[in-house]
Symmetry: C2
Subunit: 247 residues, 2 copies
């Protein structure tokens, strides 16, 4: 253990602190005061790098921490014993992983990196302790959990009530909106997941996803080249979601 008081603050320390993180408005600290945020730095202890295709955590593992994505992206999925996979979400920078584990103190899904990624490890017991002292943290954390529940309801809507092309259009619009929030282009982005993973998430087969992409391209809504997507007609995509074709 190092004596903290004895060492000067290094560039690495600064970078790791919530107060210095450029993801502030997207992550757990959103809406908290500066003094509150400076206290968070003690909460977010270490970080962890995860290589592409490696798990951050697995179903059945003991739950100890939640994770904030600093760089990269992840998918979460649930496996059925017969091998069927259901992707339950795709997460990007600033989003929180691991909330599923609180309920039973064991993780109930797998979180796998879609590219080389880095997460901030937030020890859960520390989070509970600190959020008893900090109203802002408590409130933000509750909002994060609630947001996840609302998002899940949206996915249920998608899976339960929409047809293939509506689902894919909604998916693209959602991605676009999240990229925008992160300062990236709303119209042009790179998919980090395969057609198969998109299909699993949307309750479709990869061939159906591929065909829908092609159809959107033929209709001039998007330009697809493998994982590279350019949205050409965002209003057209929106219309697809809200007025599902003619039927």
């Amino acid at each position: 253990m190092q004596m903290k008081a004895a060492v000067p603050i290094t560039a690495a320390d600064l970078k790791s602190a919530c107060s210095q993180c450029n993801l502030l408005e997207l992550c757990l600290p959103f809406g908290m005061t500066e003094t509150e945020i400076s206290r968070l730095d003690e909460l977010v202890g270490n970080r962890r790098k995860i290589k592409r295709h490696q798990p951050l955590y697995r179903t059945g593992e003991a739950f100890e921490a939640i994770y904030a994505i600093r760089t990269g992206s992840f998918k979460t999925d649930v496996l059925l014993e017969d091998g069927r996979e259901q992707v339950t979400g795709f997460q990007m920078t600033g989003e929180i992983l691991g909330l599923d584990g609180i309920s039973t103190e064991f993780h109930s899904c797998n979180a796998v990196a879609l590219e080389d990624s880095e997460v901030c490890v937030i020890a859960y017991d520390k989070l509970e302790t600190l959020s008893r002292e900090m109203e802002g943290l408590q409130h933000q954390f509750h909002k994060v959990m609630s947001r996840e529940i609302v998002r899940d309801h949206g996915v249920m809507m998608l899976l339960g009530s929409m047809r293939a092309e509506e689902r894919l259009a909604a998916f693209l619009l959602n991605l676009s909106q999240r990229f925008t929030a992160r300062g990236f282009s709303a119209a042009e982005f790179h998919l980090r997941m395969t057609r198969d993973e998109i299909g699993s998430y949307l309750g479709l087969k990869l061939e159906t996803v591929s065909r829908a992409f092609s159809k959107f391209q033929d209709e001039g809504l998007i330009a697809v080249q493998q994982k590279h997507i350019r949205i050409l007609n965002i209003a057209g995509l929106r219309k697809l979601v809200h007025h599902p074709a003619i039927r």
Copy 2:
């Protein structure tokens, strides 16, 4: 306002208190100490009766409280502008409603009573205040939220990866298990929702639900008479979920 100290505790007071409630092990207070629970009684202020088919809250309404079901049952649903409905859940006694509202401070779904029901109103600001003082309450509340997330993932699995009969079998098993937890028969129960609502929840049309019920009956798995269900072969139903037919 009445002077509390001046009036003796009435039977009604006793009945309303968490400490006197027989739903203890199913509801928010689960796992808390007796002294903690006695403090909860100040949290759960009033109760509200909701008639069958009446909403407890609606999409867009300001969020102020969460609700614990004392008697009866509810459905939650999301409506699309074109009229399509997605039922996102069915809730029974002891379960918590309204968590969707924390995220934006407005409700993002409708909660509708499936029968005449009663809920305990838990003011959200009071809950946050009290759970900063009570570790047990805080922890339990987090578990309740996390459990909802895990449940939602299960529904995604259902909607995204299972076929019609698997979905219905999983649904029946889930109901049976929840009735058991409440001291009711695992094998015989009354559905409070229509075929259409089950269908919406499971991403199926009511005709498909009806046909699946009939098929299960023909196969001797259950006995159906309208809303009355008797499970005759629970192992058979389980097998249906885990080994989806022969294919």
